[in-house]
Symmetry: D2
Subunit: 296 residues, 4 copies
Amino acid sequence: KLDLNGILPPITTPFNDDESVAYDKLSGNLNIWNSVGFKGYVVQGSNGEFPYLTPDERVNVVKHVRKNTPEGKVLVAGSGCESTSATIEMSNKMADNGANAVLVITPSFYKSQMTPQALLNHYSKVADASTVPVVLYSVPSNTGINIPLDVLVELSQHSNIIGAKESGGDITRIGQIAHLTKNQDFQILAGSAGFMLGAYAVGAVGAVCALGNVLGAHVVQLHQLINEGNYEEARKLQHRLIAPNTAVTAKYSVPGLKTAMGWFGLQGGNLRSPLQKLSEPQIKDLRQIFVDEGFL
Amino acid sequence: KLDLNGILPPITTPFNDDESVAYDKLSGNLNIWNSVGFKGYVVQGSNGEFPYLTPDERVNVVKHVRKNTPEGKVLVAGSGCESTSATIEMSNKMADNGANAVLVITPSFYKSQMTPQALLNHYSKVADASTVPVVLYSVPSNTGINIPLDVLVELSQHSNIIGAKESGGDITRIGQIAHLTKNQDFQILAGSAGFMLGAYAVGAVGAVCALGNVLGAHVVQLHQLINEGNYEEARKLQHRLIAPNTAVTAKYSVPGLKTAMGWFGLQGGNLRSPLQKLSEPQIKDLRQIFVDEGFL
Amino acid sequence: KLDLNGILPPITTPFNDDESVAYDKLSGNLNIWNSVGFKGYVVQGSNGEFPYLTPDERVNVVKHVRKNTPEGKVLVAGSGCESTSATIEMSNKMADNGANAVLVITPSFYKSQMTPQALLNHYSKVADASTVPVVLYSVPSNTGINIPLDVLVELSQHSNIIGAKESGGDITRIGQIAHLTKNQDFQILAGSAGFMLGAYAVGAVGAVCALGNVLGAHVVQLHQLINEGNYEEARKLQHRLIAPNTAVTAKYSVPGLKTAMGWFGLQGGNLRSPLQKLSEPQIKDLRQIFVDEGFL
Amino acid sequence: KLDLNGILPPITTPFNDDESVAYDKLSGNLNIWNSVGFKGYVVQGSNGEFPYLTPDERVNVVKHVRKNTPEGKVLVAGSGCESTSATIEMSNKMADNGANAVLVITPSFYKSQMTPQALLNHYSKVADASTVPVVLYSVPSNTGINIPLDVLVELSQHSNIIGAKESGGDITRIGQIAHLTKNQDFQILAGSAGFMLGAYAVGAVGAVCALGNVLGAHVVQLHQLINEGNYEEARKLQHRLIAPNTAVTAKYSVPGLKTAMGWFGLQGGNLRSPLQKLSEPQIKDLRQIFVDEGFL
């Protein structure tokens, strides 16, 4: 079973001034990230601006990342589309281009119709057809949809579904998932650095956190401190990470994350419209948050 | 200026058993609808399952509908994508294939980033670049996003933005839009048959309503009764339409609408997964709702 | 059956500087309002700061209003409490002190437990025990709770429940209530001046609107225009009322309403903490809204 | 400074068949609870049905609990009312009757007006006037309101505000509160047994959890395991507590909790209307949840 224990940052997709994909910037970033102790990468999580990429671009970005990533690192590719058929097609194209697993976000347009049965069918069909393992992905702040607990537990029994990325931050739910899937060796990934310690305390084994793009070494250290049982140091580090994490996710989202990348030797590049660059006061505020916790 | 005064049903996209687009069923439906007094059609509104169509399919369906629709009828095509650039490209392809206007849904994935400024930029760029007029489209139940009132009013002054489809049902907002755009001859379309009379009372001039797929003649009659000032009969008809309308929208959504189409000589066809067919009890309940109001 | 056709403003409760009830200011206001063509008053609707009054004050305010109101005007008193027993006791005390009917807000603290059955029981018990007729009251923006449509329809058949104040502004729901209660002569009151015309178009017969506190004559005129079938003039007036209405409700709430009262010869008086006075920029903005629509 | 490190169950208020307070049942329960290793009790938290008690009953229940509780145990009394003045009055009456601290829920009726400034003023005035220390209380599922993080941090510097009960379960927020108040020795209490371990991991020092009413010894044990640094055993116990905890809170609320009390030798007593007794299938489901985790 593919091992996801560790930190897999959901990497950003840099764009050029004309909004085309900046493959050179992406390679440059990977070159730096490869020397951090990441377990691997998530390509085209929410921070990868995947909804703004064409189907061809989505596959090409995965291919490019694979080419620039050592074989030993795990590549999880976000392949979710609204329809089941498009998700299957995208999953297998990504697998053909080097993805070791696919991360499948909940379909969400017809919210009222995303019943337990609909989600169960969708994920079962995708997992049946995918040539690589599937990781479930709930991110209610973007989709307005969560996978119901009992659906998730039923899906955990599918041999090709190996884990879930939980981005909602509901620690009670994460604990209950860990409890109810303990016999399936189902791997729960915290979807944010903001609640990593809490999530690990109740059973998460890894994290897919945007903050890893900029503070990768610190996030990896938090993972290690927890695994060593050093809860006191872990708590101190966790505390320092919360504000920067909130700043590059809930508060300033991808524009904030790409801005911060520049301060850490990485290339955020341009955004795709309708995402907007941060204003000067926002940039100043964002920077101060990193300064306040001693990261700049 | 393109005249949208009238009923433009957001037509469904029928699929074959293998989930491919059933172009023959679509032609058959249009053949029937063409004899109802519709102003035109909306292709790929929310009821058209557009999030489940590939970019090529989206264009082809528009082309097919245009071919099967008399020239005098207005064709409004839903061209919205998450990115601004994809929306522009889709808008112009649809225009090239016969759309008289495009309906542009709010981008919604990065909800917290869809600020007034971001929406203003997005719609301005699309309207600048689109070769046909643009209709704004807010449908919070699907997207979790609404175009703020002041943004909408500012956009109403763009020469290539001719109206808005309001699906949220907020009658106060509709009245205020009518009031604040009265000098722009901005055309407000009620996004549902459930609140048509109320919306017209405060200034809407047309309606894009799912119920038109099945009860087209009645919806057209409601439009006429209101325009004739026959509010008493209008109210009676409006009352009868609410429950069937809710049944094929909020309650049973596209699966309900496609099921009901069969009862009115139309071909709903298959759905695309993850949408699920109604269960037998749901079908029975749906049918009873139409029976109760005397439509079956 | 008590006739509620008309405008019944939900009057504010003025306080002195020490936050005690300013009965003299209240009398002064009533003296002015009594000459406007109101059907009556709602005492201790949401605009009356009833959650901030002690049980004794609630009864005393009703008594005071009755004493200062001509007999021919209807007095509807907000008697809702969280528990059924307290609501019954309050209803009957208010009736003993001159209320012609009671307005009963949905209990809302244990939101998940306010099931259809719980609401049905609550209102049935209150209506059984109340010595005056009951008006149902849904105001989701304050309570997070709505009375489900089928519960409301079932309650409409209770001989001591004579109507409902609908403050949510869902015009589809209002139309459906009117349709499903047409044989009960159930009286629907629009809960805001913002959607009065739309609500009347589908069956409302009166309005309980905060704006009546300051623009009473205009709201009464809107009621008359609609009843005369003069929809064109009604629409124009409705349009002018929306922004001022939003300003004294959703935007600036009771603090805004009390501030505006001073501009129309009335005495808003102090607020009770934790409500806060408007800031100077807010007051300026509020005033401009009334100026823009020609009311100041 | 009053020490809140430990478990303080928010005890229920049993009622007789006629819905009067069942003081004898309450004494009986306390007699049992006094031998569990609780730090003390919260009287009239959300589980105490405080919104259904009259002002006099609220004080009398506190007095009765104090009389039946050993002096060494801390008594925290829920004194929150909608108005600031009523909250102050209630706080001091409760203090006079034996409360060692008061728990003050956010006012919530005028949600849009509960601005940061309004909450800051409210809590500052209450803390200034209260004769015993104040504990802040956020419970968004009941109130729809949360105390903004920066307001809470500012309030933590008030000498008479000693802690906060966090019931929202947002572990990121809890971690950030702990981080930002580390110099104030501000005591954070987890508001539910469902996320206790996670909350303690990031800095909570105690818990006010409904589940303590029925599984008190286990919740106390979880507190001890964490404090001993035995995270492995703590996790196992935490996992077992989640489903029963959810069952007596989010799922079946106070009716579920009172039902379960009977299975553990305690007397839940009657509810006050509009709360409804559980149905037989609900009782069966609830019991099975406790059986499944080995508690029955």
